[in-house]
């Protein structure tokens, strides 16, 4: 992990700063960012400061990277969490239904829908949704963000479309996992034992099928959440959602490396955190890996 942080943010500074600046700005920037020092020293200097919470200063605005990121983090987290909720709301019922009736009409429709959901470009879906719901129907604002504390209704209105877009895409992926894991759980021998005990069908399903199918779902949801946090870049742009993705893209466009490094570091940390949480959750729900 450390190697990666080293690898990715280390290189852009050295390689890309060059040609687009005149010499004077270039030197000044280099000096200010400490780029005139050897790469290894730069890295350790940066890493050392990062450990103390100092991610440097934005080339573009002069603000500290930490404050830029912490401004944007709530919006991205909100969107990612809302999206994963939408995804689960779609995936769990749909995947379960298809698994319960494999090869039925429901299953086929669900398969086609999830295939479509996986294949649709999310920015295109975003544009179409904006066209219909913000343009033609005028029910929702086409984008932007207001904090929940200021205007709960406006917050929800603005969150709805982006969350649906990313939720549908993730949901389609998760649907396929839910289907296969429920199908697998249904075929397990212990389900027959539970039925032979004379448990009511609902109890068999909840405690001996769903409960077991939940295990892989936790992993997939964790992975999807991690992808959402970084993958919402495009959707943030379309919906003018002031999140980290937007910040990272602006940083790329203006070659604002401290910000980009900070954003990537944050994603890496979030990634690790999510993996940690998934592991912890797993321990909580799967007795086989306790101890």
């Amino acid at each position: 992990m450390f190697g990666l942080v080293h690898l990715v943010p280390g290189d852009p500074i050295r390689l890309a700063l060059g040609t687009r600046f005149d010499q004077e700005t270039y030197d000044a920037l280099r000096a200010r960012a400490g780029l005139d020092q050897p790469l290894v020293e730069q890295f350790f200097g940066w890493a050392g400061r990062a450990l103390r919470g100092d991610l440097g200063v934005s080339f573009r605005t002069g603000e500290t990277v930490t404050s830029l990121i912490s401004e944007r983090l709530p919006a991205t987290l909100t969107l990612a969490v809302a999206s994963i909720l939408v995804a689960l709301l779609i995936a769990v019922p749909l995947g379960t239904l298809s698994a319960l009736r494999p090869r039925s009409v429901v299953d086929r429709v669900a398969t086609v829908l999830s295939q479509i959901g996986i294949s649709v470009p999310e920015f295109w879906m975003a544009i179409v949704l904006i066209l219909v719901f913000a343009g033609t129907l005028g029910w929702l604002p086409s984008g932007g963000y207001v904090p929940l504390t200021e205007d709960p209704a406006g917050w929800a209105q603005r969150l709805l479309m982006p969350a649906v877009v990313t939720g549908v895409v993730s949901g389609s992926v998760i649907t396929r996992f839910v289907r296969s894991s429920v199908l697998e759980a249904l075929g397990a021998d212990h389900v027959r034992t539970a039925q032979a005990k004379g448990l009511p069908a609902r109890q068999v399903f909840t405690w001996h099928v769903l409960r077991n199918a939940l295990l892989p779902l936790v992993t997939v949801t964790g992975v999807q959440l991690a992808y959402l946090l970084s993958g919402v870049v495009v959707v943030e742009i379309v919906f003018s959602w002031p999140g980290l993705g937007q910040l990272a893209l602006q940083a790329v466009q203006s070659r604002d490396y401290p910000v980009l490094q900070g954003a990537i570091l944050l994603f890496a940390v979030v990634f690790l955190l999510i993996n940690l949480v998934v592991d912890l959750l797993y321990t909580a729900i799967d007795p086989r890996i306790r101890r």
Binding site: L199, A201, Q203, W207, R211, L215, D286, P287
Partner: protein, 334 residues
């Protein structure tokens, strides 16, 4: 209920499975009875339809692919036609079932206690604490050391033999009038197997439970069965008292199974002998006697064309008829 009415009466049980290769006749007109306190052993190779025939009794085959016909009356009530809710009530108190593989037949993510308690509480108003007491009692009964603590254990924390005891405890938890054990001891080592057989025999004499014991193992058959039913190609090819069938087998298949058997008295773990060839595919059963393609005798012209009926052969002992479905039994003694 009259003395003579059997506990379970299976009549012309047929199971047809839908498979990608066409319909498969997995069980073809099986009829037998199990009396109270009686043990019936069902023997045969894998694929002979033994397991399917008992799963069908409890409606445990997926309705999407399995069509079950015939009748199976438990205390006079047909299991195959009863409404689902009634069937659910019968599973447990009416029929308890022990499955083959103790490694997979328990839910790995629920505690032993929970899996016992939910079975007990599914059949009657029992408080959680009361159910736990009963569960601990059952575990003690099946010989699990430290039953109280075992309640809070997960299946993976127990050995295979201990798990199978738990499965048996679950099957017995509602004092079933009929216990079905499907290869219940196959996965266990010989010592554990002997303990479990003793256990079941003890419970049987105590509660008068009827037992259907499906097995490969002739040692088990000789040790616990009152009656034997030999299955081949989804049919009963021979049945009768354990002495009749094991000592005077009438069907060439049964004789083949017993053929390589060393002295019965010393064969505690003697597996059935292998018969050359493979059982017929249930999608493509031969006309005539199901066994003729592998049959070493084939002494009758009808073997390949006409299905032999299950008919009484020789003398019967203990009031049980000894029957076999073959054209070849007469005059070909052992």
């Amino acid at each position: 209920m009259s003395e003579l009415a059997p506990l379970l009466e299976v009549a012309d049980l047929r199971v047809r499975l839908r498979t990608p290769r066409g319909p498969a006749e997995v069980v073809n007109g099986l009829s037998y009875t199990v009396g109270r306190g009686e043990t019936v052993a069902v023997v045969g190779e894998s694929g002979s339809g033994k397991s399917v025939s008992v799963l069908a009794l409890l409606g445990l085959l997926p309705a999407r692919v399995a069509a079950v016909t015939g009748a199976a009356r438990l205390d006079g009530e047909d299991l195959l036609t009863m409404p689902p809710e009634r069937l659910r009530e019968v599973r447990g108190p009416g029929v308890g079932m022990v499955f083959q593989d103790p490694m997979t037949s328990l839910n790995p993510v629920l505690t032993i206690g929970r899996q016992l308690v939910e079975g007990i509480r599914a059949h009657g108003e029992v408080s959680k604490a009361e159910a736990r007491d009963r569960a601990a009692g059952l575990l003690a009964e099946v010989g699990l050391p430290d039953p109280r603590r075992a309640l809070d254990r997960y299946p993976h924390e127990l050995s295979g033999g201990m798990r199978q005891r738990v499965v048996i405890a679950i099957a017995l938890s509602n004092n079933p009038s009929l216990l079905i054990a499907d290869e219940a001891t196959t996965a266990l080592d010989v010592t554990v197997q002997a303990q479990i057989l003793d256990l079941v025999a003890g419970l049987q004499s105590e509660h008068g439970t009827g037992v259907i014991w499906i097995t490969h193992d002739l040692g088990v058959v000789a040790g616990i069965a009152d009656r034997v039913l030999v299955m081949y190609g989804g049919r009963c090819v021979e049945d009768g008292s354990v002495d009749d069938v094991l000592e005077r087998p009438a069907h060439p298949y049964t004789r083949g199974l017993l053929g390589a058997l060393p002295d019965l008295a010393s064969s505690d773990d003697g597996e059935l002998a292998t018969v050359p060839g493979t059982p017929p595919a249930p999608t493509d059963l031969p006309a005539g006697c199901v066994f003729w393609p592998r049959c070493p005798v084939r002494s009758d012209p009808r073997c390949e064309t006409e299905q032999p009926p299950l008919a009484v052969v020789g003398a019967s002992t203990g009031g049980l008829p000894h029957r076999a479905a073959t054209w070849c039994s007469e005059g070909s003694s052992r």
